[in-house]
């Protein structure tokens, strides 16, 4: 197949640049935020699945 079909589309060359900018921006933001995340809170979040709210969970673990 022809690989140059779309090269005639006006302004198409800006697409890879936009992609790169969005990508870098999103990932920088995410990494900064994760690094700054409070460890205690994330530990608490991680323990969420362990408590079903059953009678045993409530009384044994005294949650």
């Amino acid at each position: 197949m022809k690989s140059n079909v779309l090269q005639a589309i006006l302004g198409i060359e800006v697409f890879p640049v936009i992609s790169l900018i969005i990508f870098v921006a999103v990932f920088t933001t995410m990494i900064i935020w994760v690094v700054k995340l409070d460890k205690q809170r994330s530990q608490k979040m991680a323990e969420l699945p362990l408590n079903d709210g059953n009678r045993e969970d409530i009384f044994n673990k005294n949650l």
Binding site: M1, K2, S3, N4, V5, L6, Q7, A8, I9, I12, E13, F15, P16, I18, S19, I22, F23, V26, F27, M30, I31, W33, V34, K36, L37, D38, R41, S42, Q43, M45, A46, E47, L48, P49, L50, D52, G53, N54, R55, I58, F59, N62
Partner: protein, 711 residues
């Protein structure tokens, strides 16, 4: 004990049980159909030549059953179980739960009642016809409303990472399904894709790739993040890593679709973008895998004890392997080798059997004893299931990997004189038959394991009694969740499902748009080839028979620009040749040879004999025979509608042509029948085979030099 402020409520276990039972039943059906079609590749005459049981019609039934019935039901079972417990709330609406359950089962049954009868759109994993597509959309929305409603009224302030994966699943699958299902109905169970040719292919593989991502990956990752800590009784290894895993995965996945279309009309930069993002996907995927496995640190003794954990460990390992293979196959050089071969079949089955099946069975083994308040009937049987299934996966995947590469190398091999060493495609197929036999054996092992699992789960259920409404306690939800200054913005986001959903959609749409704009623009940018004309009415009928019989499951119509392919098949395929193809029929697998330049390659009589008894023209062929096409008369009742529909979609049939179409078709059929009669074949012009021959003889001839067979 200061528990007086706790609210009492109940989890709905009935709905979880219902989805679980459906999983087991449909799983067994799906695996069984898989074994039947696997055997048909070893013994083409297995089960005779009954149209409803032919390979081409059963293959989509198998894929749909395994993806939407088996994996779909187990995903819903796991989501309904974990979501209620993570939200500390009953499902939003019992009525919606029931509508979701029964609606989904009805969809599955209607798939089983349409696909074997040849009602198919032919687009992979989206084969179901338009009324079922609409039903899927409605039921999916019922599921989404029920889920988001539950999240909305939850008592737990924060949303655990598993819920993020569930939300992303719901939103993205809705988007994918709707966009890919644009089609114009001709009749109750027949439609033509809104898109044509290259554009149809781009939309389909944007869908196909992301269906794997958001139907078979994200929900199962959500289940992994809930059930691994649950079974191992310890929190996930790194919650921070799970956050990175989530955002990176949903953000990157959606960009990677073009890797299914390397060497096609997509511009180079988009192909490269697809490759780059595919390679980057290794990072979050492996991050997730490591996170899952490291959760078991210090708990590996539990893996020895707990069959569900064994399944999970193999599942996560297979996830790691599949997500390594995927990016590797996105490299053009490797893609050139693996595309169209059985390697892909091995790759997807590693994912389906080990990852989806592994997570699925682990979840079932965990939930059943708890829902029935009892012990697992037999750990020994569960272990047996595990080992048989694992062995089955090995027997399945290894021959497929080996055979796939072997065949691809044979396709590409030239002699010292510069001619193809295996000029006859069939020579490369017959060598695969032992591999196909091993694969059928592997699949059978997997089915046996599943039957043992089903028995074990049944006995477990029998030994206890279902706790339909399981009581639970939690602090009531706060009326107003005003963010405090001490909280970060994401913590606020986590508490607001609506805003969170919006961000998920934004992340998904950014990638989608970058991939999609070229798709939309491509239509007006495909160079017109004036020699390319719309199909004749008879060819349309023939093409619809080709679609009905699922020929696309084994034959591609896309010759890549490689010397090994142009030598074998002829001129490579051009974008402009497919402008009237609603839907596109490029295919993704070559169990048989490419057919894009088959037109004029052989005389009509060859096709006549070939379809009646493939072994007569190609000794050793594993293609099934199609005796019914020689008996069934062509049905022209929808021809007028077909012409009108195609015109609406942009195919330039002149106004009023629909009235002449039948006469035109009959005249063309008469010519082919006379031609066959002169070769001493007893056939009348009204039989289906005549239309199919007309279509096959047309394929790829628009830009081909006058074929020799016609001269």
């Amino acid at each position: 004990m200061a528990n007086s402020h706790l609210e009492r409520f109940e989890y709905d276990n009935s709905i979880v049980r219902n989805f679980s039972v459906a999983t087991v039943i449909w799983g067994i059906v799906g695996f069984l159909v898989g074994i039947i079609i696997a055997l048909k590749l070893v013994y083409p005459s297995f089960l005779g030549f009954i149209p409803e049981l032919s390979y081409g019609r059963l293959r989509p039934l198998h894929t749909n059953a395994v993806i939407f019935a088996f994996a779909g039901n187990v995903m819903f079972a796991g989501i309904y179980y974990s979501l209620q417990r993570l939200c500390k709330a009953r499902m939003f609406s019992d009525v919606l739960s029931k509508i979701h359950f029964w609606g989904w089962q009805t969809i599955i049954v209607s798939a089983a009642l349409t696909l074997p009868f040849g009602f198919t759109t032919s687009k992979e994993y989206a084969e179901l016809e338009w009324p079922i597509d609409i039903a899927i959309a409605l039921i999916w929305v019922a599921f989404g409303v029920n889920m988001l409603g539950t999240i909305w009224k939850r008592r737990e302030k924060h949303m655990y990472v598993a819920i993020w994966f569930y939300i992303a699943t719901f939103l993205t699958v809705a988007l994918l399904h709707i966009v890919n299902s644009f089609e114009l109905p001709v009749s109750f169970l027949k439609s033509y894709s809104f898109y044509a040719g290259v554009q149809d292919a781009l939309v389909q593989w944007w869908y196909g790739h992301n269906a794997v991502a958001f139907f078979l990956t994200t929900p199962f990752l959500g289940l992994m993040y809930y059930f691994i800590p649950k079974i191992a009784e310890r929190p996930v290894y790194s919650y921070k890593l799970s956050i990175i895993h989530f955002w990176a995965l949903i953000f990157l996945y959606i960009w990677a679709g073009p890797h299914h279309l390397l060497y096609t009309a997509l511009p180079d930069w988009a192909q490269s973008l697809g490759t780059v993002f595919s390679v980057m996907l290794i990072a979050p995927s492996w991050g997730g895998m490591i996170n899952g496995l490291l959760t078991l640190r210090g708990a590996w003794d539990k893996v020895r004890e707990e069959p569900a954990l064994k399944f999970l460990v193999v599942a996560i390992t297979a996830y790691g392997m599949s997500t390594f293979e995927g990016p590797m196959m996105s490299f053009k050089e490797i893609n050139a080798l693996t595309h169209y071969t059985d390697y892909i079949i091995g790759h997807v089955h590693l994912g389906a059997l080990a990852w989806n099946g592994g997570v699925g069975f682990a979840v079932l083994y965990f939930m059943f004893p708890r829902m029935y308040r009892t012990q697992l009937f037999s750990k020994k049987l569960a272990n047996t299931h595990f080992w048989i299934a694992t062995l089955g996966i090995m027997f399945y995947a290894i021959p497929m990997y080996w055979g796939g590469i072997m065949q691809s190398l044979m396709w590409k091999e030239f002699t010292a004189d510069g001619v193809l060493r295996y000029a006859n495609f069939l020579e490369t197929v017959t060598q695969l038959i032992p591999m196909y036999a091993l694969r059928a054996f592997g699949g059978t092992l997997y089915l046996v394991g599943s039957l043992i699992g089903a028995y074990n789960l049944y006995k477990t259920a029998k030994s206890g009694s279902l706790v339909r409404n399981e009581e639970a306690y939690a602090a009531p939800a706060q009326q107003k969740a005003e963010p405090t200054h001490a909280e970060g913005w994401h913590r606020v986001l986590e508490r607001m499902p609506l805003r969170f959903s919006v961000w998920v959609v934004v992340a998904v749409i950014i990638g989608g748009v970058v991939e999609f704009v070229p798709t939309w623009l491509v239509k007006s940018n495909i160079p017109n080839i004036t020699a390319v004309k719309p199909y004749t009415p008879l060819e349309i009928e023939g093409r619809d028979i080709y679609i009905r019989e699922g020929c696309v499951g084994c034959h591609s119509q896309m010759i890549r620009p490689f010397r090994s392919e142009t030598e074998r098949y002829g001129e490579y395929s051009k974008a402009g040749e497919f402008v009237y193809d609603h839907p596109f029929l490029w295919g993704s697998k070559r169990t048989g040879p490419d057919l894009h330049r088959i037109g004029g390659k052989y005389p009509d009589s060859w096709h006549y004999m070939h379809m009646k008894d493939p072994q007569s023209t190609a000794p050793g062929s594993i293609m099934p025979a199609y005796p019914w096409m020689y008996e069934k008369s062509l049905d022209y009742s929808h021809l007028e509608g077909k012409i009108i529909t195609l015109r609406k979609l942009g195919v330039p049939y002149t106004e009023g042509f629909e009235k002449l179409a039948e006469a035109d078709a009959k005249a063309q059929a008469e010519k082919i029948a006379q031609n066959l009669n002169s070769s001493k074949f007893d056939i009348t012009a009204d039989k289906e085979i005549v239309a199919l021959i007309a279509y096959l003889q047309r394929l790829g001839t628009d830009i081909k030099a006058k074929p020799t067979a016609e001269q």
